[in-house]
Structures are given as structure tokens and as C-alpha cells.
Amino acid sequence: MATPTIDSPRSGRVTPGYSRTPGSRGNFEMVAWLFMRLSGAILLVMITVHLYVNLVAGDGITGVDFGFVAGKWANPIWQVWDLVLLWLSMLHGTNGVRVIINDYADKNSTRMWLKGVLYTATVVIVVLGTLVIFTFDPCPVIDGVAHVADYCPAP
């Protein structure tokens, strides 16, 4: 009898690339999906305000300097505002990139690698940003020289 020269394409088996890897993680994908929409709506408002204050109001981009930032963060409302903005946008962005990695990375190892880099970057940035906002001193004294600005208490 003739021996098959080409594998039978359909022997009831599905090409391995298509068989679903089992193990659903509860509602994670649903929560992530919902979070994208909720955070997206909030971010729309917060970023618009952020952009308006930084780029449109006052002197626009030309007005941005240390004093401008320090002036904002002297106000606890702006501190909280920027903190929330940082967290939401980082999580929104990280999840977005995670989805993109899931879509395009074919091999499991590539997926793991890319996601590892992504999550590390996210943690570093979020921790760094949070520390900066909270430990920020608008009137630092560097090498014995005090920074002078109208929002600083008189030395």
C-alpha cells in the first residue's frame, strides 16, 4: 500500500498553534476590560485638564519650568491629582500594551519576556513617580543654597 507522502491535514487534530492553553484566570480579563473603559473615561477629563493647565493656560509650554511644577505641587490637590493621573494612566497604558503583546507575540517565551520587561518598567515608573510626588520639596536646599520662590516660606 502506498505510504502517505504528506501528513494528512485533517486527522481530527487541530494545528497546535490553535489549541487553547487552558487555565482561565477568573474574571481578570473582564475586570481589565472594564477598567480600560472606566479609567479611559476618567483619564479623558484628567488629561484634558492637565494639558490645558500645562500647555494652554498662562504662557503655555514656555511657562513650564521647575517653578511651575513646584508651584503646582505646593497645592495638595494638584499632588493628589497628578498621583491619580500617574496611576491610572500607567495602569491603562500597561494593560493596553499587555493586550498588544498577547495579540502579537506568537511564542509563549516571547510573551513572557516582553511582559516581564513591561511589568518591570511599570513598577519602576509608578514607584518612582509616586515617591517624587510625595517626597517632593518645592523649596529644596541644595548644598546649603535655598531655592527661592514666592510659594516658599521665607527662609
Binding site: 502517505p4 507522502t5 504528506i6 501528513d7 494528512s8 491535514p9 485533517r10
Partner: protein, 592 residues
């Protein structure tokens, strides 16, 4: 070559095959072999509905349904089978509903029913609402629902496995001290289209449910894949074919294309008009007019065209008029077919009548079976383990003309019966030894087709065959046209031995597939023509202009066509007869 072993092998995965598989699969180790994916089967193209005397919307009973079926088939129906079908129709519809079929509903939430051609109350008094339907995609819903239930029951499908041969052996059987030779089924030979390999399926029971043979005609509502393979395989293996002269032409195919516009259109109130705008069916069937059975309507339409009252630039079609119906009603009840008119002819059915002409639709004949779906090797000898159901079979519930909706019913009732019977037989029987070199003949067939270099093109021969069948073996026939058809088929058959298949590969060699299919088409065309020549009368779908009357004295019999090379006058087809089974209705004149 691989050998697979199953209790039951079902050939074909349309309505009948899958209905059988659902039953058989739950009882015995079952495989379904199909040359397509199951959901591609032509059951899915059926539109109008499935009749059953549920009496959900008006008074009805199965006895009236039986009568309509018998009368519709011009009394050539085996009445025991018609009774079984009409009686079990009710359960068949309910079965489908329980399996999940989304029928249209009455205001009370019951299965809705509508009128259909030839279905009447109280023995022909008036049209009755008997057809259970799901918009105009009842066949689609049946096919999907059956496939869904096959998935549910883990039915094993071999998709794109083309069955090419039936393995039968002669066995000596001794019953009550008398020894005789009996044909027994051993299995089938199939060709895996994907790999080009042959696979043997050894089985205790084989169910043929491979569908019809509409592709012998040019203008047909049938799929490209309906090439009479099952009938052809059985015929070549010495099984007779019953009533092959009766082929149904559906009145309303889209003109020139053959795409079907369901009878449901007329059931919902559409009417036929000729070029003069006349509702001509009032002349041919004064009582039920446009809802007369298909053979009568098709012939009336062809007659209008012959007498010069056809519409269009070539006066070669008539018009289906829906313009008096509410667009919302059309959308709700006939969404698909109105879309066909728009897509393929650019006609807007709300405002314009649709060009239609009869299209080859359904083979009333086929592999002879009894009401248990057992295949008969002659007038009464059962082939143990061999079953057939659906269009490929002829239990003879359709006689000489099938009533609309009765095919969807046939596949469900007799598909179910075949599945149960095949499984029960397999549970008690032993495997029959596979003959030596089981695939030898099939290999020869394939190799011949593959290696022949005569230069004849398969498509050209098929086209000429379809042209000659359309011209000579259509709605109107005479001895002269039939002899002409046989003569041409003989020359085509000779040319067929000199074909060239261009594709020489193994993988998905559909070129080779078409060549093999053409062989079956040629065989079936020959059988249909020879049987038509044999029947010198007019009955149902078979209208001989040289014998325009029904002749109960000489022809109240089924025809049985056997392969017999010695019958040279009729191209190797020998014709015999088989008595019709009567139970309660005696033949009367068929008037509507």
C-alpha cells in the same frame, strides 16, 4: 491504506445522514463520512417548511396529510410508507423543536404553520396550514440543529472523505434448511480529499444518505456537489434504482440561474403571471390555483412560454408577483428569497415581479427501500445491513411527484428510522470479512482518471450532458427526445474514457473529484432517460407528450432499473417493474 472499523458507517451528512447519526451514534459506534463539511449539505438550501398535521392553527390530521401525499404523487406512492411518514411527521417536528430548532411561533407560542402547495384539508377541499417553518430558512435551521445535536452527542465525522465504493460480498445463508446466496455489506471505500489516500471503513451497517443528482441538468436548484454518487455506487454494485424517470422541476427558480425561490412565496400569497399580466394558474388549477402541486405548476409555466406568453426579451420565463403583499410581511416571512432576487437579478420584489422558470429540483426515485429504510436488492429481498434514507432513497413516499415540504419530512422520518435500524442491526450482527484487495477497483478507477491523456475535458462533457438533459429529458418528453438523449449520452460516455485530468497531485485534487463525479452523472442520466423511455404514460413529474394520459392499466407500477450490459438498446440499463403498495386510497383522477 488505513482500515477503520465501525458498527455503523453513514455516507453523507445532510439532513438524513445527520438525523440517522444522532440515533445511531447514541446506540452504536458510528462514523459519518461526507465529501463536504456537514453544514455545507444541500438540506441547508431548503426554504419553505416541513409539513406535519400538528393542527396548531387549524383543524388537520395525519390521514389528510397521507391523502395529499398519495394524490400529490399521482397514486404511485407506496401508501404504507406515506402513512408512516404522515403519522411520524408530528413527532419528527416535535423532535426538532426539542433539539432546539427555532420555529416561527403563533401568538400562543406554539409552532406556527402555513400553507404549501398540494396540502389540503379534508381530501382536497381547500388549502390547509400544515407547514411548520422558520422564516424561509427552514432547511438551514434543520441542518444547523441536526449538526448541533451531532456535536452534542459526539458523533464522529470524517469530513471531506468521498465514498467511492460499497463493499459487498455474497454469502451462503441457510434458513430452514434452504441454502441461498445473500448479498452482505462489509463496508465502504473512501477517498480522503485532503491527502489523496484511500481509507477502508469496515462496518456492520452502512447507511446511504448522500442526496440527489440534480447536476445532470443545467438549470437546477441543486448544489454543484449533488452528483448522484450514492445512487451511482449502489447501481454499479448491482442494486436497482427505483422510479428514476420521475424528477421534480420546481416552478420558481430564478430565471436563467435556477436558484430556488421557495414555494413558501406562493404559500404567503405570491402569484404567477404571464407576459400579459394574467394569473394563468386560474386556468390550470381552478380550485387551488398557484398552490397546485409542483409538477402541474411547472408544466403550466412551461406551457405558457411555449405558447408565446413568456416574459422578458426572449419570452423565456414567467413572473412571480409579490407586489400586492406588504413589504413588512415579505421581510418577516420571506427574507432570504427576496434577497436572492435582489442580489442575483437586481430585481426589487416589493415593487417588481421576479422572473422565474422551472428548475431541476428533486429526484423522486433512488435506491429502493422498505419502510424500515432497508435497501432492497430486487422487489422484495432485503440487503442485510444496508440502509438508505433521504433523496438518495426511494421508499416511495413521493411517488411520481413530491409535495413541497415532504422532503424535509422524509429526511427526518426515514433518517431517524435508518439510524435506529442500522444501529440495532449492528448490535446483533457480526462484521463481514472484507474482500481481498477491497480498494482494487477504486484504485483502478482513480488511476485511469488520473493517467488518461485523451485530451477530453471533464467540464465540456458535463456541460454537453447537462444541455442534452435540459433539452430532452425535462418537463416535456417524447420517445424521440429520449432516444436522442440516450444516443448523446452514449457518445459522451465514450468520450469520458478519454478525459484528461490536469491536476496530477494528491492533496485536494478536486479536478479528479469532478472527473469521478461526472462518471456517476453519466450513469444516472442514462438510468433516468432509459426509465423515462420505458414509461409510456404521463404521471406526476413525468410528462410524455406522445402518451399524455395516465395509464393505470399498464403503468401503475414502480420502475426498477438494473445495470445490465446485455441491455444494449437502453445503454446497459434493464428495466423491470415493482407493484405499488395500496392501503386505503384507490387511484382517482388527479384534479385541483
Amino acid at each position: 491504506m488505513q482500515v477503520h472499523k465501525y458498527d455503523v458507517v453513514i455516507v453523507g451528512a445532510g439532513g438524513a445522514g445527520m438525523r440517522a447519526a444522532i440515533e445511531s451514534g447514541q446506540r452504536a459506534h458510528t462514523a459519518v463520512l461526507t465529501k463536504l463539511y456537514p453544514t455545507r449539505s444541500h438540506t441547508g438550501a431548503a426554504q419553505g417548511g416541513m409539513c406535519a398535521a400538528l393542527a396548531n392553527v387549524e383543524e388537520d390530521n395525519w390521514e389528510w396529510h397521507t391523502f395529499d401525499t398519495v394524490k400529490g404523487g399521482d397514486y404511485l406512492v407506496d401508501q404504507d410508507a406515506a402513512e408512516v411518514m404522515a403519522k411520524e411527521a408530528i413527532e419528527a417536528v416535535l423532535d426538532l423543536e426539542r433539539m432546539g430548532l427555532p420555529f416561527n411561533r403563533t401568538p400562543e407560542g406554539r409552532i406556527d404553520q402555513r400553507r404549501f402547495g398540494g396540502h389540503t384539508r379534508d381530501h382536497g377541499k381547500a388549502p390547509v396550514r400544515r407547514s411548520c417553518y422558520a422564516a424561509d430558512r427552514t432547511g438551514h435551521m434543520i441542518l444547523q440543529t441536526l449538526y448541533q445535536n451531532c456535536v452534542k452527542h459526539n458523533v464522529e465525522f470524517y469530513n471531506e472523505y468521498y465514498v467511492l465504493d460499497l463493499l459487498m460480498v455474497d454469502q451462503e445463508v441457510t434458513v430452514d434448511g434452504v441454502t441461498r446466496i445473500e448479498k452482505r455489506v462489509a463496508g465502504v471505500v473512501s477517498y480522503d480529499l485532503a491527502s489523496g489516500e484511500l481509507h477502508i471503513f469496515q462496518a456492520k451497517s452502512v447507511v446511504f444518505a448522500s442526496g440527489g443528482v440534480g447536476k445532470v441538468y443545467k438549470t437546477t436548484s441543486n448544489a454543484h456537489t449533488l452528483t448522484g454518487d450514492g445512487m451511482g455506487i449502489a447501481f454499479r454494485r448491482g442494486i436497482p434504482l427505483e422510479d428514476m424517470e420521475f424528477f421534480q422541476f420546481h416552478p420558481t427558480g430564478l430565471a436563467g440561474l435556477g436558484i430556488l425561490l421557495s414555494e413558501a412565496a406562493r404559500g404567503e400569497g405570491a402569484i404567477l403571471r404571464n407576459s400579459e399580466g394574467e394569473r394563468f394558474m386560474e386556468r390550470y388549477a381552478p380550485t387551488i390555483k398557484d398552490l397546485a402541486p409542483r409538477d402541474i405548476v411547472a408544466r403550466s409555466m412551461a406551457n405558457e412560454v411555449r405558447e408565446g406568453r413568456g416574459a422578458g426579451p426572449n419570452k423565456d420565463y414567467v413572473l412571480l408577483d409579490l407586489t400586492h403583499l406588504e413589504p413588512a410581511h415579505i421581510d418577516a416571512k420571506l427574507p432570504d428569497i427576496t434577497e436572492f432576487a435582489r442580489t442575483y437579478l437586481g430585481v426589487e420584489p416589493y415593487t417588481e415581479p421576479v422572473p422565474v422558470f422551472p428548475t431541476a429540483h428533486y429526484a423522486m426515485g433512488g435506491i429502493p427501500t422498505n419502510i424500515k429504510a432497508e435497501v432492497l436488492a430486487d422487489n422484495d429481498t432485503v440487503v442485510p445491513g444496508l440502509y438508505a434514507a433521504g433523496e438518495v432513497a426511494c421508499v416511495s413516499v413521493h411517488g411520481s411527484n413530491r409535495l413541497g415540504t415532504n422532503s424535509l419530512l422524509d429526511i427526518n422520518v426515514f433518517g431517524k428510522r435508518a439510524g435506529i435500524a442500522a444501529a440495532q442491526y449492528a448490535l446483533t450482527a457480526d462484521f463481514v470479512e472484507i474482500p481481498e484487495n477491497p480498494a482494487a477497483e477504486t484504485e483502478l478507477l482513480l488511476n485511469r482518471a488520473r493517467s488518461s491523456e485523451g485530451g477530453e475535458r471533464v467540464a465540456q462533457i458535463r456541460k454537453e450532458l447537462q444541455d442534452v438533459m435540459d433539452a430532452n429529458v425535462q418537463v416535456f418528453r417524447t420517445e424521440q427526445t429520449l432516444l436522442e438523449a440516450l444516443r448523446v449520452i452514449d457518445t459522451l460516455e465514450e468520450r469520458y474514457t478519454r478525459i484528461t485530468v490536469q491536476d496530477k497531485g494528491k492533496r485536494f485534487n478536486l479536478d479528479l473529484l469532478e472527473a469521478v463525479e461526472l462518471g456517476f452523472l453519466l450513469d444516472m442520466a442514462k438510468v433516468m432517460t432509459a426509465a423515462a423511455l420505458h414509461r409510456k404514460e404521463s404521471r406526476g413529474g413525468h410528462f410524455r407528450e406522445d402518451y399524455p394520459e395516465r395509464d393505470d392499466e399498464n403503468f401503475m407500477t414502480h420502475s426498477m432499473a438494473y445495470k445490465d450490459p446485455s441491455a444494449t438498446e437502453t445503454s446497459g440499463v434493464r428495466l423491470e417493474t415493482k407493484p405499488v403498495i395500496f392501503t386505503r386510497y384507490q387511484p382517482m383522477e388527479r384534479k385541483y
